[in-house]
Amino acid sequence: MKSRFLYPAIFLLSAAGMAYQMALMRIFAIAQWHHFAYMIISIAMLGFAAGGTIGTFLRAKYAGAESNVIAGAAFLLCLSFILCYAFSQKIPFETYQLISQPKQIGYLLALYGILSIPFFLLSLCILQGLVLDSGHLGRLYAANMIGSGAGALGAVFLLNWVRPEKIPYLLTLPAAAACLLLAVGNSRRIVRISLALIFSLSVLFKWADTPLQISEYKGLAYALRIPDAQVIAQSQSPLSVITAVRSSMIRETPGQISFRYPWKESGPLPEQIGLFFDADSISPLNRFQGDFKPFSYLDYVTSALPYHLINAREVLIMGPGGGTPILQVLARGVEHITAVEVDPRVFSVIQKHFKDFSGGIYEHASVTTVIAEGREFLQSRGSAYDLINIPPLDSFSAASAGVYALNESYLYTVEAFKMYLEHLTPQGVLSITRWFKTPPRDELKLFATMIEALEKTKVNEPGRHLAVIRSWNTVTLLMSRSPWHESQIQSIRDFIQTRGFDAIFYPGVRPEETNRFSVLQDPVYEQAIPKLMERNREQFYRDYLFDIRPATDNRPYFFQFFKWKSLMRLLKGMGLEWVPFVEWGYLILLATLIQAVAASVFLLGIPALFQKEKIAYPTKCAVFLFFTSIGFAYMFLEIAFIQRFMLFLGFPIYAVAVVLTAFLIFSGVGSFAADRYSHSNLVFLLLSVAGIVIISGLYLLILPRVFAFGVSWSRELKVIASIFLLAPLAFCMGIPFPSGMQKLCHSFESSIPWAWAINGCASVLGAILATLLAVHFGFNFIVILALLMYGVALGTFVLFQRNYEKI
């Protein structure tokens, strides 16, 4: 019998499930690497698919007892949040050792197995609910979607106050409430469930309090092994956990200090505190007491070059972190600095805990702090600057491993560079410093981006606006609004000569000024720079071993350099020795995709092979095609449009939370509507697909203009506008799934669990594939692909309907 409170219970369980998924993403970003975000999505969705597969077999056995299955699964789900997290922390898995220890693959599989249990149980609850409530499955699906949306929002807010590893414990509360709701109306069951919950949870809270096991290869774990190291402050947000460590061994500089720096006269480096982000990337905080002498070394790194070329009065720094770039500017007596930081905790941690230590640099009379994403700030509130400076935002080790390969960054796109040019004073300069990578790629991609941006602003000779220098571990690129004067070129020469740095390019650079202090084996720059300067640089983009084609807003993956085209060349020439030289983030995503495909084949193949009820082969194919298409298409559109809105909204995490929640909730409303109009679901489906195609197509064309129009709106207004824009699309996207399910209910009820499993598998593959395809082809491409898939789904549905009518 269906519980009166089935919908609220499913809402609560779905909310807890989504919050658990987001907590796991943060847990694994801190303990291992943030590539695990994709693995966690994959784990969750595979758990869902497994629920469908098992549900196929349970269907016959537990027919009529669905509400008992839901109650039992909900009870276990409540306990599994804690138990599965606790067990996962006992598994000695190490990402880096995957290469050296085959048993790590076993550990990874064990992690997959254990962490997918809660999602499996949640899936079973929803699926049994769908079977039980097959007359109104759109409503149940709506409860699931809206619950997930609420869970996403709740998790983001919780992560401001609660450490992610504590969230599994908190989530037992909504799950327990759901258990009790499911038992309402049956007083004996309520008593039993309450007692069982109280007993189990009190035992679990006491015994399973497991601290987070951070990989020994992460910077924080290593730093804390140093005898005098101690954690002196910690702060968390949904973006990252910041851990402040004091140790005499922390000596982070923005790159190699010139060998000609007069150490003996200048004294040692200033004392530093290390700010570790998610236990890895380090940003140093310097002891500053008003005396700039200990910071004179900052004039002996490559990033000091622009200060020798222009008289900068207004400086904008994107991502100043612990403040070293601020000190570099202050030491030169600049009038005013605007420091833009995306993570609000950076300023608040420094102000709260290290105001004296840091000399209050962020309260300095010359410094204005802004919490925003750099692009959005510049677009909405930026003025004109003499210098826009982007220091390396990732750490040296993270850069060399390529862990950010899949991070979207709107700071390094052609559109962004064009905007920087527009926000420079006539003599203004953009300065970007990156860690040097072997073989070179970041600087070549940035150089190409600068040229393309200059060409787009109708500059005839882009080369006259560019200068690039390097040390052995940093590269600094400058792009000026006006062509360099002869005196500035002489200043570049003097700077590199006196500091022992090498020129890569500036107008009139002489061969003997390159590759002389830090000698590279191969003359890569001599080959690359002239080709990038040509109008027909396309050929060079194609030939170069790495993807150095400039990033665009449509394809904002600056950190991704892997090219499929090069794979055969690499394999043929180097075997597997090339692996450490490419971006690991990309390879891990690829590995995740491969395992997800294997798991999907297994999870979908078994019920298809062993289903007892005979369903015609064409029908099976139609069911498969329909649910695969809509699963893929939903994820493609969701990912593409949330990315599009991120650039508009600017402050990623809260914006994503609000937009994702709105998306899920409006899809839920769509499902609910589909349920109301279930008697004419073909028409409704037709209308919804037409709606999706029209709205998406329209958005591809008009969104850039809408965003340009609303650029100066307040954040609140931007969020509201985004929700309004996404709501109709999400509403339409919520319709196809329940419509298909309703159709199945009327014809082949036994296929419901299988369809549920297909939806789970398609969602995980869709999420991974959307990212992979966006990396290579951009977001517009995946939107078009999604629309085609909706078309396929519609066609399948029509065929299916006809087929069914014939029967």
Partner: protein, 257 residues
């Protein structure tokens, strides 16, 4: 792990074998009494490991371009399997890095050989290593140079490496637990320096402690892998020049065109 004194680990100084202070025979008897099984296993394993070492040198290190006969001889001699976790002994002679705990690794044998070759050491040289790790690189250097000083910041790793190197009879290798940033001033200047702990800048005290004409090697790359070797040369006039060397022969970057 068998901890028997190996005859092969005596260090030769100007052609004269240095006799370890611990008498070999009594130590051998004591250890034999304590670990009879281990001894039997070790003696069974040793020829197999020696064979694997030989194969490692001939099939990998030499094949990949290391040609200094002294370096090749040392790589055939130093027992890498005694520097890794017993569970990883079977992988000790594979050409890949291995974990040694505490977030550190033992470099792949080819890189160890290449770095040693690049230092161009001779038997009178004094070498500094920053980042002892397992002690394997120090042992390899110890077989060639006159003196090796090695500094490790993680006390557990430093202590383990020290006792391991002592047991193996490396009298000319001294391990210090401490901050390698400042080098080891008492024994400076050095003919060669290896800095295995990559940093955002090369510590100036290390440059200072490098002899004019000396060479410094810094492996750079993510955990477990070396992407580039930075070779720093201090010329006789004290000026500095660096070279960036790729240990791997990379395919042409522009499609061979």
């Amino acid at each position: 792990m068998p901890t028997i004194k190996k005859p092969g680990s005596c260090v030769f100084k100007e052609g004269v074998p240095l006799i370890p202070k611990v008498p070999i025979i009594p130590a051998f008897i004591v250890l034999l009494a304590l670990q009879p099984g281990a001894q039997a296993r070790a003696s069974e394993e040793e020829p197999a490991f020696a064979q694997r070492r030989k194969a490692m040198v001939e099939e990998t290190i030499q094949a990949r371009g290391v040609s200094d006969p002294a370096v090749l001889a040392v790589m055939k001699k130093v027992e890498r399997h005694l520097f890794v976790d017993p569970g990883l002994k079977d992988s000790a002679y594979a050409d890949r890095p291995l974990p040694i705990g505490y977030g550190q690794t033992i470099s792949q044998p080819y890189i160890v050989a290449l770095m040693t070759e690049l230092l161009q050491l001779d038997k009178d040289d004094v070498v500094l290593e920053v980042g002892t790790g397992s002690g394997y690189q120090a042992a390899v250097l110890g077989e060639i140079a006159k003196e090796v000083r090695t500094v490790e910041i993680i006390p557990e790793l430093g202590d383990l490496a020290r006792s391991r190197l002592e047991q193996l009879g490396y009298k000319n290798v001294q391990v210090k637990v401490g901050d390698g940033y400042f080098g080891w001033r008492d024994h400076a200047p050095y003919d060669g320096i290896i800095v295995t702990a990559a940093a955002t800048h090369i510590p100036p005290p290390l440059i200072e402690q490098l002899k004019p004409g000396g060479r410094m090697i810094i492996p750079v790359g993510p955990v477990f892998y070396v992407q580039t070797l930075i070779l720093v040369e201090k010329r006789e006039d004290g000026s500095i020049r660096q070279k960036s060397l790729m240990p791997v022969r990379f395919v042409p970057l522009t499609g061979g065109k």
